[in-house]
C-alpha cells in the first residue's frame, strides 16, 4: 500500500506532543494547560493512526477512538475542577494553587 510514509506521521505526532508539552510547562493559565494536554493527546493519536496504517491494522484507529473518549471525559472533569478553582482563588493561575505542598 502506498501513501504517506509512517515516518511522516510519527514526526508530526512527535512535534504535536512536544508542542503540547512545551505549552503545558510554560503556560500558567489553567485553560491553556488543558488545551496543551489535548494537543499532546492528539499527537499520541496521530502516532497510533500512522502505526495502524503502516501495518494495515485497524487497532491504531480504535486506540484513537479510545483517546477521543478519554480526552472528552478528561476535559469535562478538568473544566469542573477549573471552575471550582476559579471560585476559590478568583484566578486561573496554576501556580496560585500551590497550597497543597507537603
Amino acid at each position: 500500500m502506498t501513501g504517506v510514509p509512517m515516518a511522516y506521521g510519527l514526526i508530526l505526532g512527535g512535534i504535536l506532543f512536544a508542542l503540547g508539552l512545551a505549552g503545558l510547562l510554560m503556560r500558567r493559565n489553567l485553560l491553556f494547560i488543558l488545551v496543551s494536554i489535548e494537543i499532546m493527546l492528539n499527537g499520541a493519536g496521530v502516532a497510533f493512526v500512522a502505526a495502524g496504517s503502516r501495518w494495515g491494522q485497524p487497532d491504531g484507529q480504535i486506540m484513537f477512538l479510545f483517546i477521543l473518549a478519554m480526552a472528552a471525559s478528561e476535559v469535562s472533569v478538568g473544566l469542573a475542577l477549573i471552575l471550582r478553582l476559579n471560585r476559590q482563588h478568583k484566578t486561573l493561575d496554576a501556580d496560585a494553587a500551590s497550597e497543597m505542598r507537603g
Binding site: L24, I33, A94, G102
Partner: protein, 620 residues
C-alpha cells in the same frame, strides 16, 4: 496408659496459652490455672501407676511425637523419655506445682496481674515438665531456657518497682553465663559423639572416651557450668537471693522446689559422663560443699525471712551437689524430693506470715505468732525440722543423713567432705531455729491484720504431711531408682557405720538448736554483743553481703564493662550507623525542596523522568 505421657506438659502449656491470649474473669482464671495443673498431675499419676504395674522393657519408655529438624545427620526429635528418674521428678514437680497454684489463687487475689501471673506459672510448669521428660539434650535445653524465661518474668512480676526488674535481669544474665557454658558443652558432645539423644550419649560416651580423657572432662565441666548457674551454686549463686523480689508462691515453686534443682537433674541425667571425668565429679562435690557452707553462714545473718529461705535453698542444693559429686546419685534425687516438699512449705507458710503481717519481711519485727497463726506455726515448724533434719520423723532427715553417710562412704566420699556436711547440719539447724524462734516465739512486734483462708492453708497441711511421710519412702525409692542411678550402699572403707553417722548428725543438730535457743530466744543480748564487737560486726557484714560476692562481681565485671561501654560510645561502628542516618537526612532535605506544590514543576518532573526512563530502555 503410658501413651498419655505427652499430655503432662501439653495441658499446662495449652492453659498458659489460653490465659495469655484470652481474657477471663478472675474466678475462671483461677479455675483454668489450677485445673490444668491438677489434670497434669492426675495424668502423671496415671502414667506412674501404669509404669509401676507393668514396667516397660528396659524400665524406660520413649514417646516420639515428631521430628524437630533433620539437618546433616543432626536429627533431634520432640520425644519424651520416661524412666524412674524422670518419673519421680515429674510426679513431684506436677504435684507441688498443683499445691502452689492452689495457694496462689488466694495469695494473689488482690493483684492486678492475676491472669498474667497464672499464665506465667502455667508456662513455667509446662517448661519444667518438658525439661524433665526430654529425650534429648536439645529439647531439655528448650525447657531449660523456658523455665529461665518464666523465672525472669515472675521475679520482675511487680514491674512497677524498678528494683524487681533489676533482680529479674540479674537472674537472667547470671544464669545466662552458665547456660552459655552448657550450650558449648552441647556442641562439644554433638561434635564428638554425633548425637544429642541422652540415652545414646550415655551409651557412646564410655565407648569413645576413656576415663579421665580431656573431652569427657571438658564436656562434664561445661555441663556443670550450666547446672551451677541454674541451681545457684558457687560462683553463680548471687542471683537467687535477689530473686526473692518475686511473689512468694513464685519463690516457693521456682526458686526453691523445682527450677533450681534442674542442675541437679541435669547432672544425675548425665551421670555417666561424670563417671568418665573424675576431676569434674570431684569439682561437683567441692562446689556443693563450698556452697552449702557459704550459703549457710550467709543465711545466719539475713533479716529478711525470704532471704533466709533463699540462702537455705542454695545451701540445700549444695547438699544435693555434694551427693552427686561423691557418687551417691539417688541420695541427691531423694533430697530433691524431700526438699521440694519442705522448702515449698517453708515458703508457703512464710507467705502466710508475711501476708498476715501486711507484707512484713523483717523477722526481727515478727514474733509471738505461735498462738495467732497456729496452722502456719505448726506447718512451718514441721518443715523447719525437716530442713534441719530431725531424725526418725522427718523426710529431710532421711535424705540428708543419706547424703552425709554418702559423703563419707560413697565411691568418691572422704572424711573431709563428711565433716563439711556435718558443719552444714549445724548451720542449718542454727539458722532454721533462729528463724522459728524469732518469728513465732517471743513478744509480738506487729499485729496480725488478715487471717489466711483455706486455699492457703490446705496446701500447707498437705505439704506438712509429705514433709514427714516422704522420708519413709527411702527404701522403695532406692530400689526403684536402682536401674537408672545405682547405689551400692557405700563401698568406701570407713571405720563408722551408717547409724553412727546419723547419731553424730543428730547431736550436731541438737547443738545448733541449743545455740539458736540461747542466742535468739533466751539471751538475745549475747547475739547483740557478738554482732556489735569489732570482729563480729565485720564478719556479720561479710556474711550478710553473701561473702562479698556481689561487691566482687560489681568491681571485677560490671563496672569495667560499664566503663568500657561509656568510653567506647563513639567508636567507628557507631560512626558508620550515624553516617547512614546523616546521609538519609541530607537526601531528605534535598528532595523535600522539590515538593513545591506547583503543578507545572511536577509535570516537568514527570516528563523528565519519562525521557530518562525511555532513554535508559532504548540505549542501555
Amino acid at each position: 496408659m503410658l501413651d498419655l505421657l505427652w499430655l503432662v506438659p501439653a495441658i499446662p502449656f495449652a492453659s498458659a496459652l489460653a490465659l495469655a491470649v484470652l481474657r477471663f474473669p478472675r474466678k475462671i482464671v483461677a479455675w483454668i490455672a489450677v485445673c490444668s495443673i491438677a489434670a497434669s498431675t492426675v495424668v502423671s499419676l496415671l502414667v506412674t501407676a501404669s509404669f509401676l504395674s507393668a514396667p516397660p522393657t528396659a524400665n524406660a519408655y520413649t514417646q516420639v511425637l515428631w521430628t524437630w529438624l533433620n539437618v546433616g545427620g543432626f536429627r533431634p526429635e520432640i520425644a519424651l523419655y520416661l524412666d524412674p528418674l524422670s518419673l519421680i521428678m515429674m510426679v513431684v514437680v506436677a504435684f507441688v506445682s498443683f499445691l502452689i497454684h492452689l495457694y496462689s489463687t488466694e495469695f494473689m487475689i488482690d493483684d492486678d496481674g492475676y491472669s498474667r501471673f497464672f499464665a506465667y506459672m502455667n508456662l513455667f510448669v509446662a517448661s519444667m515438665l518438658t525439661l524433665l521428660l526430654a529425650d534429648n539434650l536439645l529439647l531439655l535445653y528448650l525447657g531449660w531456657e523456658g523455665v529461665g524465661l518464666c523465672s525472669y518474668l515472675l521475679i520482675g512480676f511487680w514491674y512497677r518497682d524498678p528494683v524487681n526488674g533489676l533482680a529479674g535481669r540479674k537472674a537472667f544474665i547470671v544464669t545466662r553465663v552458665g547456660d552459655t557454658a552448657m550450650v558449648i558443652g552441647l556442641f562439644l558432645l554433638f561434635h564428638d559423639l554425633g548425637t544429642l539423644n541422652i540415652q545414646q550419649l550415655m551409651l557412646r560416651a564410655p565407648q569413645q572416651w576413656h576415663i579421665g580423657s580431656g573431652a569427657a572432662i571438658a564436656a562434664a565441666f561445661l555441663l556443670l557450668g550450666g547446672a551451677v548457674g541454674k541451681s545457684a551454686q558457687l560462683p553463680l549463686q548471687t542471683w537467687l537471693p535477689d530473686a526473692m523480689a518475686g511473689p512468694t508462691p513464685v519463690s516457693a515453686l521456682i526458686h526453691a522446689a523445682t527450677m533450681v534443682t534442674a542442675g541437679v537433674y541435669l547432672i544425675a541425667r548425665t551421670h555417666v559422663l561424670y563417671s568418665l571425668a573424675p576431676s569434674a565429679q570431684f569439682a561437683v562435690a567441692v562446689v556443693g560443699a563450698a556452697t552449702l557452707l557459704i550459703a549457710g553462714f550467709s543465711a545466719l545473718t539475713q533479716w529478711d525471712l525470704k532471704r533466709v529461705l533463699a540462702y537455705s535453698t542454695i545451701s540445700q542444693i549444695g547438699y544435693m551437689f555434694l551427693a552427686l559429686g561423691v557418687g551417691a546419685w539417688p541420695a541427691a534425687i531423694f533430697h530433691f524430693m524431700s526438699h521440694a516438699f519442705f522448702k515449698a512449705l517453708l515458703f508457703l507458710a512464710g507467705g502466710v506470715v508475711i501476708k498476715a503481717l501486711d507484707d512484713e519481711h523483717n523477722i526481727f519485727r515478727m514474733g509471738g505468732l505461735r498462738k495467732r497463726l497456729p496452722v502456719a506455726f505448726w506447718t512451718f515448724l514441721i518443715a523447719g525440722c525437716s530442713l534441719a533434719g530431725l531424725p526418725l520423723i522427718t523426710a529431710g532427715a532421711f535424705s540428708k543423713d543419706w547424703i552425709i553417710w554418702g559423703a563419707l562412704s560413697a565411691a568418691h566420699g572422704s572424711p573431709g567432705l563428711w565433716i563439711v556436711a556435718l558443719v552444714g547440719v549445724l548451720l542449718t539447724s542454727l539458722y532454721t531455729f533462729r528463724m522459728i524462734f524469732l518469728v513465732f516465739f517471743g513478744e509480738a512486734h506487729t499485729q496480725v491484720t488478715r487471717k489466711p483462708g483455706n486455699a492457703m492453708l490446705i496446701p500447707c497441711i498437705v505439704l506438712a504431711f509429705l514433709s514427714i511421710a516422704g522420708g519413709y519412702l527411702k527404701t522403695p525409692f532406692a530400689r526403684f531408682l536402682e536401674t537408672t542411678l545405682p547405689w551400692d550402699g557405700g563401698t568406701g572403707v570407713v571405720p563408722a557405720s551408717e547409724i553412727g553417722s546419723e547419731v553424730i548428725a543428730f547431736l550436731v543438730l541438737l547443738l545448733g538448736l541449743y545455740l539458736a535457743y540461747l542466742f535468739f530466744l533466751r539471751k538475745k543480748a549475747y547475739a547483740t554483743t557478738l554482732v556489735s564487737s569489732a570482729v563480729g560486726s565485720g564478719v556479720h557484714r561479710f556474711w550478710f553481703s553473701d561473702w562479698g560476692m556481689d561487691w566482687l562481681y560489681d568491681r571485677v565485671l560490671v563496672r569495667p564493662l560499664v566503663w568500657f561501654a561509656r568510653v567506647d560510645k563513639g567508636d567507628f561502628i557507631d560512626g558508620f550507623y550515624t553516617g547512614v542516618g546523616r546521609v538519609n537526612e541530607i537526601a531528605w532535605r534535598g528532595l523535600s525542596r522539590t515538593e513545591t506544590g506547583r503543578l507545572r514543576w511536577y509535570a516537568a518532573g514527570i516528563a523528565a523522568g519519562s525521557i530518562i526512563f525511555i532513554a535508559v530502555v532504548l540505549f542501555l
